[in-house]
Amino acid sequence: MKTVHALLLALLVLAGCSATPQASPPAEPLVLRLSVEQASPQRVEAVRGQAVELTVTSEQPVDVHVHGIDVLAKAESGKPAVLKFTVDRTGTFDVEAHPDTLLVQLVVR
């Protein structure tokens, strides 16, 4: 059991040391253009405190929202949804068109 304890301890130290340091938010915003019809969701990295601008086009009237952040906008044919917000906490946030079309996943570090 001693080996087990030593390994566990080594591991926790490892976890602590490997954490990446905090970066300061860049001045320019993260700008993304997305389409509901041609959704090909990817992961996009952002930095905490960075401004995000999403433009979402859709042929059908649809609600676009960001999970975990209270922003919501409507898109319809010829009138894209524009969402501007700042993410002030870390985590992975889904941008979805109602009801469950994933458009992009924001990874905020």
């Binding site: 999970h67 992975t92 996943q105 990874v107 570090r109």
Partner: protein, 363 residues
Amino acid sequence: MTVLAHGVGARHDLPLPLDLVLQGAAVALLASFLALGLLWTKPRFAAAEPKSERDWWPVRLLVAVGLVLVPAQAWPHLVFVLVWVGVPVLSVLVGPVWRVVNPLRLAARVTLGRAYPERLGHWPAALGLLAFTWVELVSPDTLPWFLVGYAVVNVAGGVVFGRTWFERADGFEVFSTLLGRLSPLRGNPFRALVATPVRPGLVAVVAVLLGSTAFDSVGSTPAWERLSVPDTAGLAAAVALVAGSYLLACRSFGGQLAHSMVPIVAGYVVAHYFSLLAVEGQRGVALLFGITGFTPDDTLAAPVLVASVQLGAVLAGHLLAVVSAHDRALRLLPADKHLTGQVPLLVLMVGYTSGGLALLFAG
């Protein structure tokens, strides 16, 4: 009304950094084969079933009365966070709590006392857990229907078969009792683990628990969305993959080693749901008291803390599993196969652990 990913919770954890995943997998691999060489060569842990408590019916009655007062909007958090995640975590800490608080167990007080068929074993529990995880991960809107079905089936089972029904066929109780064996407050966890009765369907229960949590990671990735495979198929495939790989690696033992998968399940549940419990658990409690605009404190979801908990839980689970499987294998294997006979199982466990870590990186 917003539609929520896997029932509740809006934010996912950050992906675990790749270097941590690789280091973790390397530690698991190294520790497993070191353990094989360094650990004892004669079985040590005699089975010791933790004592079952007295009848807790007043607690259950209190819970039953309390449930009537739960506001409608609190139900998803109550079920998906406080019961589905809170109860297993509490079980690991203090022992099987679901049997204490489950109000449906009151039904066993008016039982007809029929004998529960041995052949059924834990199969109803495995099916119930699979149905629940489908509701959680694929179709959270069907929760009310699931709850009605769960209540009807378990009251009926309790009335016909009495307490045995809940011990063997109620998925939540089987889950909670399995993880409760790890509680350090109830004696040596290894002795409690090895006392797990091997019943039909035990492997299926473990496969559903591990497979569904794995699918929760996979199903939330953009890569999975791009595939456009139905979530139901993904969930079924994940469960089948876990069951198939276990049966392949342990074909000569059958369910005899299934108990050693329990720490892996526990480690992965903690890793996967720690931040959900820490953050959404607060909202759940607030909702129970009818507070809707509550903003949870997310200090506990800090990236470094979450990554440490995830890695620590997965690896601790892995090490407990390896030790427990080693001890059991010494009893099951003939002396000349003590070392070689354990290799397939060790490879399987390293596979589950590295797979689990990889999923925390991917999802």
